[in-house]
Symmetry: C2
Subunit: 145 residues, 2 copies
DNA sequence: TATTGTTATACTCTATAACTATA
DNA sequence: TATAGTTATAGAGTATAACAATA
């Protein structure tokens, strides 16, 4: 069997661990879990409001997990929900002003961590790595041959 | 702020998700969680018995989490524990014959998934990606500048 | 005193199913 | 009937602290 440290999932996990190590304490300072941050971050990336289903796909969270996270973030005033006018089943989620402010507070450290990686690893090399990861994720490995 | 899909941790998570998607149902068939499998997999990679502390580092599990997982795996007869003769505080963990058999049962599907990725992504390209991930993980990003 | 490993505790996420409201 | 989202439930991992046994 392939050696443990040549396993692709382990290599991805290890790299992610290395990239996140410095960032986690910062999230903890703001009482945010990784998953909560992923949701806030995904909301920052969109122009307008997003439906929970879309948000779940983008953040790799299951609907029940996302549902709890949204309740939590709404309770803290970091997001706002509304109901879609064309289909009352659908919710629309967006950052509140407080949520946007929180992201703006955390973002600089995130960028600093990124810059640090760029400096040590090389900006072009990192860009290429991101492209490779993107391609890998798009192979549709779940589809039948 | 950097676009969400240009975030390195998200790119790593997304790639890992893609690589694991087909593998999870197989683990579920054998009543194994991802973390339990990581432990079994790490034990396969070593020649002899391993101390829990080392195992925790290699699998990115916290000691309390690992402790529970080891109890579970021991209860299922998949691993064996002994006490180090030179230091009675230390445990030594190794796969049991049943554990080895289970790994041998699951391994072919793991290899098949890997081969599939190699075919679609390119073997050399994948090898290079693994090396880049390895280098990235070894940047010691947690250290002060 | 320090270290190895486990236990305690509280919380969060995962995963599947069942349910409500709307379409 | 089907879909969007929430709630129910059980289980597992995360994280920190406290603890027992050994060094």
């Amino acid at each position: 069997m392939r050696p443990f440290d040549q396993s692709l999932p382990m290599a991805l996990l290890r790299a992610r661990e290395a990239a996140m190590r410095r960032f986690r304490p910062l999230l903890a300072e703001h009482d945010l879990t990784e998953q909560q941050w992923r949701v806030l971050r995904a909301l920052t990336a969109t122009d307008g409001p997003v439906e929970p289903t879309v948000l779940a796909e983008r953040t790799f969270l299951l609907p029940p997990s996302l549902s709890r996270i949204l309740s939590n973030l709404e309770g803290r005033g970091l997001i706002e929900r509304s109901v879609a006018t064309h289909d009352q089943r659908r919710s629309l989620i967006e950052l509140s002003p407080d949520g946007r402010m929180l992201v703006r507070t955390v973002a600089p450290s995130s960028e600093a961590a990124y810059t640090r990686i760029e400096q040590r690893f090389g900006a072009a090399r990192l860009q290429h790595l991101l492209e490779e990861l993107h391609d890998l994720a798009e192979l549709n490995l779940g589809e039948p041959t």
